[in-house]
Symmetry: C2
Subunit: 224 residues, 2 copies
């Protein structure tokens, strides 16, 4: 029996430095048993304000009230585009097409899948095909939405549609001018999966997507 079982509760020391006189609070430190339903209490959103807006980003402030009555203001960043797409192109020979590209925020080159934001009125599918064409020179006759991912990062909100692209045809490249140093690599999926497990790929999102692709290939070999 661990010390922090379901039933044990702990008094919490006051963390506020505003000198508030708060009631004693108790936390459930339990490990949910199999099949047990979690009781969760999302905070109430009291107010949402846009405090900065630029060409691509919005900074948002949000006043929250937690289930214990505690109020806090959180900040996060939202992309102004309607969403982002990531495309995982899988060739019939089992190779995945990836790109190596300079990323400003990371200040280095990263290995990743073709990725971009929705432009104008285009749908996520149209954006996926456009980014695939621009970055790798391939088009795809089949596109499957594998996942719609909402950011789980602490400070970033966005909807990100992840596609599997099949039945590829190489038609030539059409790139943004800021992508001139991007390189296209074709690698066997099993090799890429091994690279992910051996931590040879640094981007958490890319690693996650590789696991997703591998998982789907394991689950339904038929989609090839």
């Amino acid at each position: 029996m661990e010390k922090n079982t379901k039933l044990e509760k702990f008094s919490v020391e006051k963390q506020t430095d505003r000198g508030e006189n708060l009631p004693d609070l108790y936390w459930n430190l339990g490990i949910p048993q199999k099949g047990e339903k979690l009781v969760i209490h999302p905070p109430k959103i009291l107010e949402t304000r846009v405090v900065f807006e630029s060409r691509k980003l919005k900074v948002i402030e949000q006043d929250l009230e937690f289930s214990n009555g505690y109020r806090e203001t959180w900040e996060y960043v939202e992309l102004k585009s309607k969403g982002g797409v990531q495309v995982m192109p899988l060739k019939s020979d089992g190779k995945v097409v990836m790109v190596r590209e300079y990323r400003g925020a990371a200040q280095r080159y990263v290995l990743r899948f073709p990725t971009g934001s929705l432009e104008g009125e285009e749908s996520p599918e149209q954006a996926a095909l456009r980014e695939l064409r621009e970055e790798t020179g391939y088009t795809a006759r089949r596109l499957h939405l594998l996942k719609e991912q909402r950011s789980s990062s602490t400070y970033f909100r966005g909807v990100f549609s992840i596609y599997l692209a099949l039945d590829l045809e190489f038609v030539g490249c059409r790139r943004d001018l800021g992508e001139c140093d991007m390189e296209v690599l074709e690698l066997p999926l099993e090799e890429v999966f091994g690279m992910a497990l051996r931590l040879e790929i640094e981007s958490p999102q890319t690693v996650y997507s590789i696991l997703m692709l591998h998982h789907y290939q394991q689950q339904r070999k038929s989609f090839l």
Copy 2:
């Protein structure tokens, strides 16, 4: 032989909608051969400006010049804290300690490792021990830096130190008031690794960290 071999080059259609008269540009779409060194040309940073600053965030604009002479302004967001920490607490019985917490940017609860920002003048190690104590009630007698991760996200920059915490002792919880609904879970590492491979954990950063922990355990059983 793939169509997009090392030697084939493609003329690129003009992507600018500003009507600029640009020279024809050529891209290398090569797949690097084994052992071949990549020739990469990071863009020159011409100017960096802070365009917004709040309690926790800065929005930065950066003028870049790519190796083909093309200039572009990029935006990204930087945390004002000196860095973030993530702690992976591994108990001697092979269980990892995780938390389930509400994240404002995701607008839902996520399963993750104790995580936070450096406060005041504290070192990453001090922040790691503080977050571990606050969020799980554990202290650790051994702390190993597994990785210093620079964000590879397109729009977010930050340094994130990832620690392995060993020789744990439960001493009781001490939490921020906004963390009242956080739940502590203790799960066998092998089970957590399986959850990651089966895509039962949604946060890419958490999945990446689980792979890292599993990889290290495979590589050096001795560290337990």
